[in-house]
Structure formats: structure tokens, C-alpha cells
């Protein structure tokens, strides 16, 4: 308990809250992501005591992951990959004039998901870590394929088109140096391509620029404000929605948390799997994607819960749960902390402080997130033509800023055109970007696994966890097909 109260000290609170505000701003701006927010805050933490630095990092990550949903909902541009799933129903709700409700729901679910995730972290860390330890290349391969396939299946359009989009993403991910052999693939002699195609500029182009193209192609509402509806929502109505979806919130948070606990799998996979599960298990499954509450609740609780999960392997094993915790672990080592099983004994007080900070961050998130929504809504009251220009220049600068590379700005252009063409032809965008992100994970685990087994594919199917995920995958793809055959069969044999 001492640890809990110790965090309410000015020297910790002030930078902590300031970094949360920064997280909202950076996460909510199209072109800037949650990982960027964390990466940018870390150097600022070096002058502080460890607990203040960690509080800043925790605060900024939770806020940025939530804030990524703001442009996803209002502009159909995910602020960060974990918000990819929020685009589906969030934007549809905005089109129905319910954008503010969507975000209020989003915020509440993020906070609840975050709290559930942390609760699981505190209670279950060792057990979950045991489970995570069982995962080797074979399981990681299937998990990544599963998460990716989820996004392909549940996106709008036919399953085939979803798979095409996902495969395109995987193909793009192969451009660059092959990690295992060091051989440059599909680089056609270009030095920039040797480094591969960055997923952030690709994401900005695919979602941001293509949306700008779509908007400018029909310049009817150009001079009108981007968002016209009010932000007065009663918390009572949000409360009612939350109440009738208690089970969904809990389930999504747990899914998000478990996936976050797997090293390398973070909020983005968590959000998609949760969305996919919710859609399959819901009575209103076919309404997903048209702007319904479950479509918001599932991914937004999951992605914040996943953050809590990513700290499990980080604290218990010193293995990052995702890119954000990878950065955090680096920072912790600079403070002289050694994450791992011993950290609970040697730095028990600090660990409790971390848990306390995580919990209180959720409360702060509720307030700061709310202010962030209002701030962004005021920004979006500007006429559409101005907002689009601002989005465009932020996207271009955001891409340039990553590596001080104008090549990345070119990537935005190429993917912007690609995204536009894809959408015109019914090909969904999220699977492509997820394929780009997960491609290396899928290929590396496949090949390392094959090296381990000396070329045999058998362990990919015989290991229990691998087999389970594989069966889930088959059900996912072909379940409807077999169900259809089964129904026809039983009808023919009926009375």
C-alpha cells in the first residue's frame, strides 16, 4: 500500500500527467503512432527518477493507444495499427452522427479493458507467463497466421478478397533483406528498398492518403465542417450500453490481455482477434461493420487490455510483449533495473508502484481522454477542405520524420494510390497492413521451425497448442462452408 500512495507525489504526478496529454495528442494525430509517442518520451525520462520515468511511459502508452481510435472513428484513419479494427464500426457510427457516442464508448471500454488487463497482470502474471513459455516457433507461426486471417475474414467483402489483401501485405513484407540469409529480396538495386517498406508510411498512405483521395474526388461537402454533431452525451446512456455488454467487455479484455502476454503479439493482433470472436459469437454478427456498439466494444477493450498483458513477459522474463515494452525494457535497463523473475524480490516496491501507476493511469485516462476527444472535435469543426490539407501535411511530415527519408513520403503516395484502387474494387485495407506488420513474424517462425525440424512440417500440426490454433483457423475459413453442407444434408434426410 505504501507503494500505492507514494506515486501521488508532485515530482511524479506532473510529468506523468503531461506525458499522458502528449500521448493523446500524438496518438490522435494521423501520421503519428503510439510507438512513436513512447519512443519520443523515453529520452525525456532520463532526467527523472525511475518511477517517474516509468509512470510517464505507462501513461503515454495507454493514452496513445486509446487516442489512435479518435481519427479512426472520425476520419477513418487509424492513429496507430491497434486502432485498425476500430475504424470498421467507429467510422460507420460517425456517419450515422454517432461519432461522439462511439468515442465515449471507446474511452469507457479502453479504461475498463485497461483495468481488467492490469488486474490480470497482477493476479496471474506467473501463471500466464508459464503458458507463454510453451510457445515456440510453431505456435507463434500459427498465432500470427490466425490473427492475420481474422482480419482477412471479417473485413468487408468476400473472404477471397480478404485473403488477397492479406497476401499482398505479406508479399510487401518480403521486400528487403531476408533476415535468415542476409540476401536482399525484391529490392531491384534500390538502397532504400533494402531496408524494407516501413509499415508506418504504408499505413499512413493506405488509410490516410486514400481517404483524402476519396474525399477530394467528391468535393461536395468541402466547405462544410468535418464533424457537425454535438458532443453532449449522457454518461447514463453510455452506462446502459456498457451494462448490457458486460460479458463482451470482459471476454474482449481477457482475449486482448492473453494475446498481449505473448511476446511479439501486441494490441493490434489483440484488437482484431477480439473483434473477430465477437462477430462470430454475436447474435448480430452480420451487423458488424455497420456501426454497432459491439463493434466498438470488442476491439477497444482488447487493445488497452493487451497493454497490460505485454508487461507480463516484460516483467517476469525481461522479454518484451510488443514494441512498446521493448522500448520500455531498454529504458529500464538504463535506470539500472533488471526485469526478470528476480525483479519481484529485488525491486518489489517499484513493481508495486508500477502496478499502482497503471491502475491510476486508467482513471486519468478517463479525464484526459475526454478532454482529448473534445479538443479533437473542435479541431475537426474546421471546414473539410482545411482539415484534409492539415491531415495531408501531417501525414507527409510524420512519414518523413521516421527516418528523415523522403523515400517514405513516396511510399505514402504509392500506398495511397494502391489503397484507393483496392477500395474501389472491394478489397479490404486492414489485412494488407496487418500482413505487412506480421509478415516477418510469420516467415521467420516458419523457417526457423523448419530448420529445427530439419524440413519436416509435422510439428506444426502435432504440437497441442499449434494443433488447436490450426483447427480454429480451419473452422474460421471453412466453418460456414461445412455448416452449409451439414444443413443441406440434414434437411435432405429430414422427415
Amino acid at each position: 500500500m505504501d507503494a500505492f500512495f507514494s506515486i501521488f507525489h508532485g515530482s511524479i504526478l506532473v510529468p506523468w500527467i503531461l506525458s499522458m496529454v502528449m500521448g493523446i495528442f500524438v496518438g490522435g494525430a494521423p501520421g503519428l503512432t503510439a510507438t512513436m509517442a513512447v519512443a519520443l518520451i523515453v529520452p525525456l525520462t532520463f532526467h527523472m527518477q525511475p518511477v517517474a520515468g516509468l509512470a510517464m511511459i505507462l501513461g503515454v502508452s495507454f493514452c496513445a493507444i486509446f487516442a489512435g481510435d479518435i481519427p479512426a472513428t472520425f476520419l477513418r484513419i487509424p492513429g496507430t495499427p491497434a486502432s485498425g479494427a476500430a475504424v470498421l464500426d467507429g467510422f460507420e457510427m460517425t456517419r450515422k452522427g454517432q461519432g461522439a457516442l462511439a468515442l465515449a464508448l471507446d474511452l469507457s471500454c479502453s479504461v475498463i479493458g485497461g483495468l481488467v488487463g492490469i488486474a490480470i497482470l497482477i493476479l496471474v502474471a506467473p501463471v500466464l507467463a508459464e503458458f507463454a513459455l510453451k510457445f515456440t516457433n510453431f505456435e507463434y507461426f500459427w498465432l500470427a497466421v490466425f490473427g492475420l486471417s481474422m482480419s482477412a475474414i471479417i473485413s468487408k467483402g468476400s473472404k477471397t478478397k480478404g485473403v488477397i489483401a492479406m497476401t499482398l501485405g505479406l508479399v510487401v513484407a518480403t521486400v528487403g533483406i531476408d533476415i535468415t540469409t542476409g540476401f536482399p529480396r525484391f529490392t531491384f538495386g534500390s538502397m532504400e528498398l533494402t531496408a524494407g517498406i516501413g509499415f508506418i508510411p504504408a499505413m499512413i498512405g493506405l488509410f490516410g492518403l486514400s481517404e483524402v483521395f476519396k474525399s477530394v474526388l467528391n468535393p461536395e461537402n468541402f466547405k462544410a465542417p468535418t464533424i457537425t454533431h454535438k458532443i453532449k452525451i449522457s454518461f447514463a446512456s453510455v452506462g446502459r450500453i456498457l451494462n448490457r455488454n458486460k460479458l463482451l467487455i470482459l471476454r474482449s479484455s481477457v482475449i486482448g490481455n492473453v494475446i498481449g502476454a505473448l511476446p511479439g503479439a501486441g494490441a493490434d493482433i489483440g484488437a482484431w482477434v477480439s473483434y473477430g470472436m465477437a462477430k462470430k459469437l454475436s447474435k448480430r454478427g452480420d451487423k458488424f461493420g455497420t456501426g454497432i456498439e459491439e463493434g466498438i466494444i470488442a476491439p477497444t477493450s482488447a487493445n488497452n487490455a493487451a497493454l497490460g498483458g505485454t508487461w507480463i513477459p516484460a516483467l517476469v522474463f525481461g522479454i518484451p510483449g510488443d514494441t512498446i515494452t521493448a522500448i520500455v525494457l531498454g529504458a529500464m535497463m538504463m535506470y539500472g533495473l533488471k526485469p526478470g523473475p528476480l525483479i519481484f524480490q529485488q525491486n518489489g516496491f517499484l513493481v508495486n508502484q508500477i502496478f499502482s501507476v497503471a491502475i491510476i493511469s486508467q482513471i486519468f485516462l478517463l479525464i484526459i481522454g475526454w478532454l482529448g476527444i473534445r479538443a479533437y472535435t473542435s479541431l475537426f469543426k474546421f471546414p473539410r477542405n482545411v482539415v484534409l490539407v492539415a491531415v495531408l501535411i501531417f501525414s507527409m511530415m510524420g512519414a518523413y520524420a521516421l527516418r528523415s527519408s523522403l523515400f517514405d513520403v513516396g511510399i505514402i503516395l504509392v500506398f495511397g494510390i494502391l489503397g484507393f484502387v483496392m477500395e474501389k474494387n472491394g478489397l479490404p485495407l486492414p489485412p494488407l497492413i496487418l500482413g505487412l506488420i506480421l509478415g516477418p513474424m510469420i516467415e521467420d517462425n516458419l523457417r526457423v521451425g523448419l530448420v529445427k525440424t530439419d524440413g519436416s512440417f509435422w510439428p506444426f500440426f502435432s504440437r497441442p497448442i499449434s494443433l488447436t490454433i490450426f483447427i480454429l483457423l480451419v473452422v474460421l475459413f471453412f466453418g460456414d462452408f461445412f455448416l452449409g453442407i451439414f444443413k443441406r444434408f440434414t434437411q435432405n434426410n429430414g422427415p
Binding site: 505479406l170 508479399v171 529480396r185 482545411v386 484534409l388 501535411i393 513520403v409 523457417r447
Partner: protein, 164 residues
């Protein structure tokens, strides 16, 4: 020509891409130990190529099965859909992005960016007074965020040579 459905084109594009991948990856080296072909650089791209072939075929089949009249490509209709201010806007955006890429380092951030902003807003119909005001504000905001907060190097371009 009226029977061509966009799905056919998607399918063909998939097949074309698959063939390209397969052909380019033929030039990748293969390892000579252990599970050589399976863990070399060409294995995985070829698996992807295979998936693309499958999808391409499914798409082409779907193109034949799909009787949605609206989606059938009618080449005579296309020019009508592309007229109007919209396409000009798209081309302006593309053109200005290319301009940005080629001039940012030469002209510098403080010349290229305002040019891009003012041109975009002009093209999109923002009144001049607001145009200049918003552009100035945006340049300042971008400078503060990227140049100062994120400490990204923003090229000075020719301003440097002028001693500014």
C-alpha cells in the same frame, strides 16, 4: 467487352503478380545444407505466389458467377465517371506530394511546405485570407512539433546558402 467484371481483372492481376514473384525469386540463392529449399529466401515468397494463384483463380470464377450488372466494366462509361473537379484535386495532391519530395531538401522546409499548403488550399477552394493564415499557423505548428519537440532535422535548403 461488356462481360468483363472487375473480379476478372483482380484475378488476372493476382495471377500476374504470382508469376512475377515466382520468376524473380528464381534468382534467389538456395542453401545447400539441411532443409535447403524450405529455408532459403525463395521458399516463402513462392508459397505466397501459390496462395495468389489460388485466389486469382477463385476471383476469375467469381467474376463469371457474378451477375451484378452494375459492376460490369463498361469502357464507354468510364470517361463520364472521371470528369468533374474531383480528378483534378486528386492529381493536384499527387503532384504536390511529388513536388514536396523533390524540393524539400533543395528549397528547404520553410519554402517547400508553405508552397504545398497554399497550393492545396487554393485548389480546394479555401478563401485567400484563411488560406494564408492557416498555412502560416500550420507551418509554425509543424516546426514546433517536428523541429523542436521531436528534434527532427528540417532541411534549410537554399535559405542556408543565403545565410539565414
Amino acid at each position: 467487352m461488356n462481360k468483363i467484371h472487375p473480379d476478372h481483372l483482380i484475378g488476372l492481376a493476382c495471377l500476374a503478380l504470382a508469376v512475377t514473384i515466382y520468376w524473380v525469386s528464381a534468382g534467389f540463392p538456395t542453401l545447400t545444407t539441411g532443409a535447403s529449399e524450405l529455408t532459403g529466401p525463395s521458399f516463402y515468397p513462392r508459397v505466397l505466389a501459390l496462395v495468389l494463384v489460388l485466389c486469382g483463380v477463385l476471383q476469375i470464377i467469381s467474376g463469371f458467377k457474378n451477375t451484378d450488372e452494375d459492376r460490369k466494366l463498361n469502357f464507354a462509361r468510364l470517361p463520364a465517371a472521371w470528369s468533374g473537379g474531383g480528378v483534378g484535386h486528386v492529381l493536384t495532391v499527387c503532384g504536390l506530394i511529388i513536388f514536396f519530395i523533390y524540393t524539400l531538401e533543395f528549397l528547404g522546409f520553410f519554402i517547400t511546405t508553405p508552397i504545398v499548403l497554399v497550393s492545396l488550399m487554393w485548389r480546394f477552394g479555401v478563401p485567400w485570407k484563411q488560406n494564408i493564415l492557416y498555412s502560416m499557423v500550420l507551418v509554425a505548428v509543424l516546426y514546433l512539433i517536428f523541429g523542436k519537440l521531436f528534434t527532427i532535422y528540417l532541411p534549410s535548403g537554399i535559405l542556408e546558402h543565403l545565410g539565414l
